[in-house]
Every structure is written in structure tokens, then in C-alpha cells.
Amino acid sequence: MPYIPHTPDDVQAMLQAIGADSIEDLFDEIPAHLKAGHGLDALPEGRGEMAVTRLMAERAEQDRFALSFLGGGAYAHHIPAAVWEIATRGEFYTAYTPYQAEASQGTLQVIYEYQTLIARLTGMDVSNASVYDGASGLAEAVLMSLRANRKSKSRKVLVPDALNPRYRSACEAIVSNQDVELVSVPFCTDAGQTLVDSLSPFEGEDYAALVISQPNYFGSLEDVDALTDWAHANGMLVIAVTNPTSLAILTPPGEWGEQGADVVVGEGQPLGVPLSSGGPYFGFMACKKKHVRQMPGRIIGRTVDMEGKQGFTLTLQAREQHIRRSKATSNICTNQGLAMTAATIYVSLLGPDGLASVAGHCHANTQKLADKLCAIDGVERAFSAPVFHEVALTLPQDADTVLARLAEKDILGGLSLAKDYSMKNAILVNSTEVHTEGDLDLFAQALKEVLA
């Protein structure tokens, strides 16, 4: 019996202690006609670890590719071997939420260190222990802004069209049930940026917050200082959506404009979490100290034990569902502990200089890639704004067709902007430190052949 250790003698001894004749007797409170068995006939026979591993290894092999330049919110980075060797140690892997603090100081200290790393990277006062992912984190930030902005009575939040459309759609699906409206802010189609000018129609209106994405979906860098100051001048909070790698070299949201952003969220995946088909990732979430009681999710605090020794524990639990039930800040129960643990190890290994170096290579490689691709006839940058590590390009042909032909060559050459932005000849390409000069040349050569 896979993973069940009992011998026939054990079973007899246990039944005897219970005073039952058979295991079936233990289900005697369940109405007999409800009992299943019949419906399970369609399930396969169980197989051993060897057979299932072989099956899955064959499946995994099917999904291999030669080269990928896909980004769109998930990015390929080098992950030091130590990161997951340690994160999947049984002591981290098979522990649960640290309800018994004395027996969970390992996990609790890691979270405290993580909160510190995120606060320092974002330039904010406090961080929670992480949420599910960047997109659902944005939904939590939107709901949080409604509670935290006490000057506003609005249930509307301004959201730029240049935000990752997947963030927009997940956020919409989560907040719409609470009568929250996401109001679109258009972007400048020349620059690929959200301009303060395009916000003027919203001036003097009551919105709880403005979302600012740095970089935005097109990879473009926004004028975050001007946008932040505009929002604050109009009584709105600022929700920053950022890429954590970029923060090693870009102005942290805590320093945007005169007062800094109020809430910061983003996808933590670039910090040591594999692409892994989209998850598990983790969303990071940080805010100004004055808003901490409105923040959802687990938060760890440092305190002392009865002998005065340093220790860590869950704190501010009065915000959470297991205490406050229907009055909680969110229904979120756990965090993405393991992914967050991996990120803490990753950032510790790279340090400030290593992370800046990764960010620098991402940017430099993307610039180089754009130059190489734009050297091909009819390929040009879609927008004029400076970018971080992703860039929108227009092609002389239909983007979806070109990408499909590149995929036939085993090159995943970017994401089409046709469906989300009706830019049917445009693609979004990303490069990071994992690409060599040779990789970039291969892509350029392949694109040239496809377009010829």
C-alpha cells in the first residue's frame, strides 16, 4: 500500500482497540446509499514511483525547446544550485504555517529576513510574508487601498492600459465582486508610456488609488515621479507594480516623487523561482508603516521569549480570517512559503552588487537584442520610451504567424501583442542574463529567415 505503513497485524490491533470488526464499520454513520466505489472505476490502476517517474520524464522531455525570449511577467534567470537544494530540505518543505512559534523559529526567521529584504529592495517600511502571485497581489493592493485611503469614499481605482493585461484581468476577476471599478488610463502610442497629460480628465475626481507599473507591460520605463506626485496631489494613494530584479538599479517605489508610493506589489518569481509553467511563484507586498493594519496576509514580528531571548512570531493576527472571520482584511490563509524561502536564499547569495549585475545584464542584453532584430528590414521598435529588459517590436508581417514559424524552429521568439492591444504586427521580446551573444544571434538569424 503506497505510503501506508500498516501490516495486517497493525490493522487488527487497531480495530480491536476501537472495538470494530472491520474498517468498513467505521463508516457506519454515512448513509449507505451515498457510498461510492462505483464512480471510481474510471480511475487508472496505481503504479510505482519508477513507472510514474518515467511517464512524467517523457512528458517533460516533450516540452523542451532550444531558446526562449518570452517574458510578459515571468522571466528566465540563473538560479544558484544552493537555492532549491536548501529550500526543499524536509525541514522547510514539510513544515506548515508556524502556528507553534517555538517549534518553527526556522521558518519564522526566514520570513522576517524576507520581509526585511523586500522592504529594503522596495524602499518601503514594512512587508508581509508574501501572497499568491503578482496579479492576485495587485487585487489585494487595490482592496487595501480602498480601506487605507480614508480621505476617499470612492470604490474606483485608476489602472493604466500599459499594465500587464494578465494582471488587469485577474485583478478584475477578484475585485469586481465587491463593486470595485477599475478605470482605464490610456498610454501614449508613440512613447509606450503612461503620460501625466492623459490623467488630466481624471483630475478633481474621487479615486482611491492610481496603479503605476514600473516597468510597464511593454518594458517601458514610466516617469514615476511625475505620476506619483500627480496621484498624491489628487488625493489618491499610489500602488506600485514593480519587477524585483529591476529594483537593484531603478529608483525604489518608496522614493518615487515627493512622498513615495503607498503600497508596492509585484511578481517575486525573478528572485530564484523557476518558470515552472507559471507557478508556484509568490507575490511580494510592502507598504508604508501607517497602512500596515490594512495589509492582508501573514506578518512576522520579532519579539522576546519569557527569558528575554530573541524570537519570532506571527503578529497582527487580528487582521486575519482565522481571528476576524467575515471582518478580515482578506480571505487569504497562507503565504507562498517555499517560493519566498527560495527568494530569500537567492537574494542573500547575489547581494546588492550581484543583483545589480543581473539587472544590468538583462537591460544590456535586451538593448543588444533589439538592435540586432531592428537591423532586419522592416523590424523596428514599437515605442520610443527607454526600456528595462523587455521591448515591443513591430514586424513587417503578422506577429502570430511569425511566432508560429519561429516555434517550428524551436525558438520561442516573444509574445504577440495582437490579441491584447490589437497591434497585430507587434511582439514583446525579453532577454536576461541567461542569453549569450550567440543566443541573440541565433534568434536574429532565425527571424531574418522567417521574414525573408
Partner: protein
């Protein structure tokens, strides 16, 4: 166990780093396209440490945790069963690990095949008509389920339904979820035998009822025997029935939520399907639905073109009535692969054994604990895969609380059960041994409990001041909340 109390930041020395891990710095020239006004002025205060220091620090921290791999971990309602190592290895295969979430279907057939088969597996084992794997945790599965209930009523123009009914013993996520979906919560009392107060429920049902959320076996650790009458009362009022799959382990292969009349369910794969809890996540909370909610399932889902034999994504363009995406991509994909591995290893017979042996273990542990003087909350009832003890007597007679006993268990190298939940039983333990623990492991727990009960009588300080053997003694939680220290500063 390690005495590491130093923070990683305190190991930091300017100029030190794990140099093998980062590429050489780029020149300022290569960054010249980024306007100076957008550049960071001061480098972030991240730790500057070597690779060995990092490995040693986090390895040492890990040893300060209790974990299933180290201890019996009978945390009620959390199903802390063995997490097969093989599942982890399979999910970490390079082909899966390096697959970008937006890779075209042509480069995703292997992954999609696993997801498609897992969907079907979960459909069969729960008796539902459709399954979406998208929700990233139990609480998000609950959200998806209640959002579908709302979408269903709204599509029928039935917009007077403003209330979700929830038994008072329910998990806190249930009421919190109902509110996130824009509903009011009405709690329904639970009777002395652990079953829902059916008369009170019938009175609470009406044209304002959108649905009822419940777990079965309930959070009282017993099977809700009136489930069919409850189902009828809610359905007669026009409401839908939501199954919280927190306790699915108890009935796996025995009774299917679909056969009990539930319209929508969520499953916790980190419980029932043995994926790791990871110190608080990531989990996965797939949802299953009956026929009438099929159109509202969250996307994306895996589909199969049976003629061509090709797998594809089902998304909002082909299912526009869906409640939509709950994450940027495809939920906690790696967790789903681990659950798929587990399902394939167990197969049909294995599924049936889960319910059987988890129930056997719980009933054994209950009877033995009663025999050493523990008080069951529902002594007349069978245990499901878990059960409740109450230490109200010890609290009154010896001033030894459930919390004290839990802390003392740590000294005996046993993880404490869930305490003070459900809220309606005073001084309670919710104990769930799972099917993967040996009889000897349970016997050790029983021995520890016997010693602690004796200590409570003879030497109560050893219990009320416990633990003594852990890295820290009891922590000052009031100080933690009052003098907030959430981020370290030099």
C-alpha cells in the same frame, strides 16, 4: 538543533558575495539608455555574504523547524501526511521547470497532458462534472466557488440573493470568502452531537439565500449525517451547496461530494494529494462543479481534441462566461504536477485506501486517548479522519490549558495538534493523524499525552511553563503586536 540566532544581515561584510552566482558587472555605458532620474541613488541594504555562509545560515535555520519529515505532526484539518519525495523530483524535471507559462501549446503537450489527466482524476474521485485547477490555494478555491455561485444567480437575473449560510464551526476562510464575493454571512448553529441544527438551518433558508458553505466531515471531526436534508433545504430555497474540501481526505474513495448533492467544491491538494505545505504554502485549491456551474469555471483549463490527440488551453475566448483568471498564469503549476504524481502512484485502490486508513488511524488514536483519560468532544460519534478532545476539566481543576498541553507536547518531540479550533468547543485539540503514520508513531504520541496528563496533576508548572527544549521559550506576543518590529534595522 542549531543555535543560529544571527540574522543573515549580521553576517554581511561590505564587498563579500557569492561571486560564482552573478555575471560580471556591466559598464555604466551599457546602462546609459536609462534616464539618470530613474536610477537608484543608493544600493539596497541587502546582505553581502559568501556562498558557504548563506548555505550554512539557512541550513542551520531549517533545523529549528518541526516538520513531517522529522516529527509526528497531527495538526487537525491540515492533513499533514507524508509528502512523497518522488513527486518533488518529477515536478522539478528540467522540461517542466524551464517551461515558460506562455509557451505555445506546441511546446506544452507533455505538461498539458498531465493537467488534463489530473482534471479527469479529480472529477472522478469527487463525482463532479467539471474541474478547474486554476485556484492557487484553498482560500482561492473557496473564492472561485462562491464567485461561481454568484455568477450563476446573476446570469439567471436572480439578484435578490445576498446571503451565504455558514455553520458556526466553519473555517474562518469561509465567512471571509463570502464577504470577498460581496455576500453577507449568516451563521447557522451546530447541535450538541456535532451535526448542524437542521431546524435553525431551515429557518435561515429563504429567497435571500445564495448558498451554504460546509465541510463534510465537518470541522467537528464527524460526518454530517443530515447532509441530504441540508442539501434539500438549501436547494428548495433556490440556493446552491458549496463543499469545502478541507476534510476530503476522510471520505476519499468512500463518498463523493457530487453524490451528496454539492454543486461546487474545492480541494486542497496540499492536504488530500500530499503536496508539501512548505512552511505555509504554496498549495493548490482546484474547484469542481456540477452541470449547472460548468460555464463559470475559472480559466485556464486543459482541453483535449480527441480526434487529433492534441491538448490545448481552454480560456476566456472560448469560455466567455468564466469567472476569469485568478492569477497571472496557470495557478500553482508545480504543485499540480506533484499532485498528479501522487494520484498516479495511488490509482483507484490507493484513493479508496486513503479514506479508509486515515479513518482507522483517527478512530484508533481517539479510543486510546480516551482510555488514558482524555475527554472527547463528541464521545458518542465515530471519528472521521480527525477528532476533537476538550481539556476544559484540566483548565478548571489544574489551570492547565489546551495551549499549555500543546506546548508541553513539543518537549516530547511531538508537533501539537490544532488548538482552539473549532471555536465552539472550549479548550480543544483537533487531532488528525493521517493514513501515513505507523501505529508506533501514534503510540508514542499517546504515551506523551499520558505523561502530560499526569504532570498536569502532579507538577503543573512543567506543563504551564513549557516548552523547555525548543530554541526559544514562550514568546511575548503582546510585545510583538505593540512594539511592531517587522523589518530589521542596524
Amino acid at each position: 538543533m542549531s543555535n543560529e540566532t544571527t540574522l543573515i544581515f549580521q553576517h554581511s561584510r561590505p564587498g563579500r558575495s557569492a561571486t560564482a552566482q552573478a555575471p560580471k558587472p556591466v559598464s555604466e555605458d551599457q546602462l546609459s539608455a536609462i534616464p539618470a532620474s530613474l536610477r537608484r541613488k543608493n544600493k539596497p541594504g541587502l546582505p553581502e555574504v559568501g556562498e558557504l555562509e548563506v548555505v550554512r545560515h539557512y541550513t542551520n535555520l531549517s533545523t529549528k523547524n518541526f516538520a513531517i519529515d522529522k516529527q509526528f505532526y497531527p495538526l487537525g484539518s491540515c492533513t499533514m501526511k507524508y509528502n512523497p519525495r518522488g513527486a518533488n523530483r518529477a515536478a522539478m524535471l528540467p522540461g517542466f521547470l524551464n517551461r515558460h507559462p506562455l509557451a505555445p501549446a506546441s511546446h506544452s503537450q507533455g505538461y498539458l497532458a498531465c493537467l488534463y489527466e489530473l482534471q479527469n482524476f479529480l472529477k472522478e474521485v469527487t463525482g463532479m462534472k467539471g474541474v478547474s485547477l486554476a485556484p492557487m490555494a484553498g482560500a482561492q478555491g473557496e473564492f472561485a466557488g462562491v464567485a461561481m455561485i454568484r455568477a450563476y444567480h446573476e446570469a439567471r437575473g436572480d439578484d435578490a440573493r445576498t446571503e451565504i449560510l455558514i455553520p458556526e464551526a466553519a473555517h474562518g476562510t469561509n465567512p471571509a470568502t463570502a464577504v470577498m464575493c460581496g455576500y453577507k454571512v449568516r451563521e447557522v448553529p451546530v447541535g450538541k452531537d456535532g451535526d448542524v441544527d437542521l431546524e435553525a438551518l431551515k429557518e435561515a433558508c429563504g429567497p435571500q439565500t445564495a448558498g451554504l458553505m460546509m465541510t463534510n466531515p465537518s470541522t467537528c471531526g464527524v460526518f454530517e449525517r443530515q447532509i441530504e436534508a441540508i442539501s434539500k433545504a438549501v436547494h428548495d430555497a433556490g440556493g446552491l451547496l458549496y463543499y469545502d474540501g478541507a476534510n476530503l481526505n476522510a471520505i476519499l474513495g468512500k463518498v463523493r461530494p457530487g453524490d451528496m448533492g454539492f454543486d461546487v467544491i474545492h480541494m486542497n491538494l496540499h492536504k488530500t494529494f500530499a503536496t508539501p505545505h512548505g512552511g505555509g504554502g504554496p498549495g493548490a485549491g482546484p474547484v469542481g462543479v456540477s452541470q449547472r456551474l460548468l460555464d463559470y469555471l475559472p480559466t485556464p483549463m486543459a482541453g483535449l481534441d480527441e480526434e487529433a490527440g492534441d491538448y490545448h488551453w481552454i480560456d476566456t475566448d472560448t469560455l466567455p462566461t468564466s469567472i476569469g483568471h485568478l492569477s497571472a498564469f496557470m495557478g500553482n503549476a508545480g504543485v499540480l504536477l506533484r499532485a498528479y504524481f501522487y494520484a498516479m502512484v495511488l490509482g483507484r485502490e490507493g484513493m479508496i485506501r486513503v479514506g479508509e486508513y486515515s479513518t482507522l488511524a483517527a478512530n484508533y488514536l481517539l479510543k486510546r486517548l480516551e482510555a488514558i483519560g482524555c475527554q472527547a468532544a463528541y464521545p458518542e460519534r465515530r471519528a472521521s479522519h480527525e477528532f476533537i478532545l476538550t481539556f476544559a476539566k484540566q483548565a478548571k481543576d489544574n489551570h492547565v490549558t489546551a495551549l499549555d498541553i500543546a506546548k508541553r507536547l513539543l518537549d516530547y518531540n511531538q508537533h501539537a495538534p490544532t488548538i482552539y479550533f473549532p471555536l465552539l468547543v472550549p479548550e480543544c485539540f483537533l487531532i488528525e493523524p493521517t493514513e501515513t503514520e505507523t501505529k508506533e508513531a501514534m503510540d508514542d504520541f499517546i504515551d506523551a499525552m499520558a505523561k502530560i496528563l499526569e504532570e498536569a496533576n502532579t507538577n503543573p508548572e512543567t506543563v504551564t511553563e513549557a516548552p523547555f527544549t525548543q530554541p526559544v521559550r514562550r514568546l511575548d506576543e503582546v510585545k510583538a503586536a505593540k512594539e511592531l518590529d517587522l523589518v530589521w534595522s542596524e
